[in-house]
Subunit: 306 residues, 4 copies
């Protein structure tokens, strides 16, 4: 369970409070505010604050004095135009602040997105909780044999059991020793900034993460992608749901132009033209490498049927 | 007058609207929202949106689940501690969005602060207004004879009059020609992206500018400084007033530790120690250059009496 | 002429100097170092320094200890793979520093690319040269009637002549007055930081601009694009030539995947699939707006024949 | 030993290579290039590439055409002026690329400095080495009783022995299980991206890290500080030595104005003035909190005698 009763009470108290504001309000997002949506076995994502809505995007693009008399349909059209033509600055005018609880090895991928603000729980100052990510059996996959950095078939039987045993036993023991080392009962107690080094990468940490909508979309495009590691993808997918309710026009445009779109190279466009003209194009005649051709064919074939 | 009646009506409409929100609300800032505060002869600053308040800074520093039971005095103490020890990330958790109207030569200084989001009024797409900054006589200063990039004595008499004449006549003529060139009455009409090149740097532009509180403080420290050019300093000073009402604890700490503080070098600290020990330290015995010593003395002497 | 004889002599002196280094050396770039390549009527681009080469990209991607035994063809394949899969960090491992002389209205577009380092010639401190961009007759275009922020047909006859007259006369007069105002002969002399406001946006400025290869590619994709304003596009095109000689593998991949490529939306990909399956797809049946459909058709049609 | 014989041979090969270049060359840095300087028990820092030297800083500040005729002493004076007045952009004109091997818990602090480029060894793609940081007995300290995030007295006797036993045994066991889990002998073999989660934070990782001199100084000011955690401070100190040989003027100015300097608040400056005027100022009459006063007194007292 990611949240204690006391934490839930604090969240409930926050949610119960309501005050008037003159600022832009996104009703879809107000519903989500502060609620901790579970991710993985002990993690969560919750929205702490947000700035702006769909109208704030077009308002900034127009540098306007008020909400103006432009119709909602104009807003949607302009947002689609801005997304299609890679205008990034209007989307930067919306901002979101999240509280995320996540395993350290996920945090290490996440933090590579540099254009964001972060305050992480300090293990120099505080004691980490005894919470470790243990994969569910249906996510315990083997190294992929076709992709050097992906997963392949599921592990089974004794092999799967042994992996789970190791993960559970090693993290439990590491935490026991962590507690013993920092204890100041009958001893000095090791500095926390040192003791934390004994903890494995599946321990949970948490942070406040603030980012503008343009950079969030960039994060989501990479991390909600099918090739992203499962353990970060589930966070991205949960955030996608929140963003869809916050800025529905922008999110729909993002889905169409980015998440569901694909960039074709000069060579690939040339192949499409030749194919539309009736030519039978092969990898050999395409000018592409084998890997590139395989990816191109996959794009043309589209998402597999269920 | 920086604002037309129509624009004022749009602003009034925005200000009249109020909606409930679960987010942190800064009452001091709500009062300012949307109002255009005049700066220079045609410029203004107005707050379009904000995220967070003083409590949001400590909440992020603590990575907390709720507002918690910590007292307000604890918040102030923690904020002062964070500011004193150069903890920047908690201050990044507040964000502000401004609409600013400003002369182009001021905009060119302002934009050098890169960690911010900007949407500027497009002179490729739209026609600029006939509004130029003409300095008031009391700001018409000569080149400084002691500081290579500053101002000295006020211009007087015929010299001042001639400067004002030039600035007014040249900008009026440049705008007349701009209008003539882009007009499509009886001619093709020059592209706006070309015609704008005829306009001088005292024409007004406008933009939406969004920045986090840490980077805003950095901007204010440099631009509200006595050495900043007057024409950008007045914007910084107006923004200081807004920030003081938005996050009073953080602003007071900023005033004490940054705006009113000074960084002493290793050599300067050594001099202070020797002086406190009773030694008579001179420029020669200080190890400092003449310029450095003059600045050090000015720091010790403090702000001049009125 | 963008360069004085004295400046040219300084450049020649720099070019004549050669020293041994253990660092990666890009022979193609060494040839270009310091040379000022003319752009527009008074501008230029010249390379002041660079870091890395094609091999530095793969070396960083592999976090290797040496240049290693990997073959050159492996380097090219890996670079293409990295580009295709949007791996940005290896390309950030190369850096370039340029000295650019450019009109102020171009500089104002350029500076919007924030992830770069800039030192601009200071008009608070120094006196600007009397050099203004006056478009050649073949670039004097009317406002586009189909694109709100582009150019259309060429201006002709009396209209073109009048535009050139205005641009020349207004900038000459503005500069005369600038000189008169700052002169300290027989008067105090207006502060430079004020006098500059009288100068139009076609005056030339100059700066040192340093950027990593990933962010340079982003700049080039937007600014070497056919929709970019001509006056910035010529700078981008000149830089493209330099980059092609610096990191030939990376540049070729950039040309294929970015400059010559196109991003198709989810809807557009769906249309391509239907068209390849033999269906006659129209704008109405495509689900796209008219503008989007026009752009999609243009992508499929490819670059126009000469 | 941080480096294998094969790696050392690659480094030696790199160092033996020398080519002519027209670029600025920093002789002091050429000496260090590629050499792996040991840090902690298995880590190192080595310079892979650099751009610029002291002259490049002043050249950019002046936007010059050549190295010019300015004397070296002018360069030093200008660099000190720029540092003293917080001019950051000229220092951004130098760049350095390092290869660093470091424990994961140090990497997690390090990466918080966002304005840098990073390529980290991928544990999704590759297998991590069996190398763990085990503190030397003289760095095995207790939690500080005065500073919530620092270290106090050294651990002794049985307590110290037990800590070392835990750290060694737990990391050895974790690595054994890591190897067993990813092995594909007689089993599928767990995906590397999952298996890595079993490894503790004292395992070593490595990355290429590229940063400009201004941001490097910011990093060094925070991480070479006495309050930084020892395990990152030793990296910062090693880098300080390299920078001192690369840009000696800039480094000396950095030492004087930043590393050895201190920022005094408005209140603190007021106290200094009163003390210089002969007043006996106490914490009560200073207007400072107890903690602030303690820090202020420590600044005035200066570094403790050996």
């Amino acid at each position: 369970m990611p949240i204690t009763a006391e934490q839930q009470a604090q969240i409930d108290e926050e949610r119960a409070r309501s005050q008037p504001t003159r600022r832009a309000v996104a009703p879809g997002m107000e519903e989500h505010l502060y609620t901790a949506y579970p991710v993985l076995d002990h993690g969560f994502v919750r929205v702490i604050d947000y700035m702006g809505d769909d109208a704030a995007i077009t308002q900034a693009a127009r540098v306007s004095y008020g909400k103006g008399t432009k119709s909602v349909s104009n807003d949607e059209g302009l947002i689609r135009y801005l997304m299609r033509h890679w205008h990034s600055t209007p989307f930067e005018m919306c901002e979101i602040k999240l509280h995320v609880k996540l395993p350290v090895f996920v945090a290490r991928q996440w933090i590579r997105h540099r254009t964001a603000n972060v305050n992480e729980y300090s293990a120099r100052y505080s004691i980490l909780d005894r919470e470790f990510y243990i994969p569910a059996p249906e996510h315990l996959a083997a190294q992929s044999v076709v992709n050097n950095q992906g997963r392949g078939e599921l592990l089974e039987g004794a092999e799967a059991a042994r992996v789970l045993d190791y993960l559970k036993a090693d993290s439990a023991r590491a935490y026991d020793h962590y507690e013993e080392m920092i204890s100041d009962e009958g001893q000095a107690g090791l500095a926390r900034e040192l003791a934390r080094m004994n903890l494995p990468a599946n321990i949970y940490t948490q942070w406040y993460w603030k980012v503008d909508l343009h950079n969030l979309f960039h994060f989501l495009r990479l991390r909600a992608d099918a090739h992203a590691q499962y353990e970060i993808r589930v966070y991205a997918e949960e955030i996608c749901k929140l963003v869809a309710d916050w800025v529905p026009f922008a999110y729909t445009a993002f889905e169409d132009y980015r998440l569901g779109g694909a960039t074709l190279s000069d060579r690939a466009l040339d192949c499409v033209r030749r194919m539309l003209a009736g030519e039978e194009v092969t990898q050999e005649s395409s000018g592409m490498s084998k890997g590139e051709w395989r990816e191109f064919r996959a794009t043309l074939d589209g998402p597999a049927e269920a």
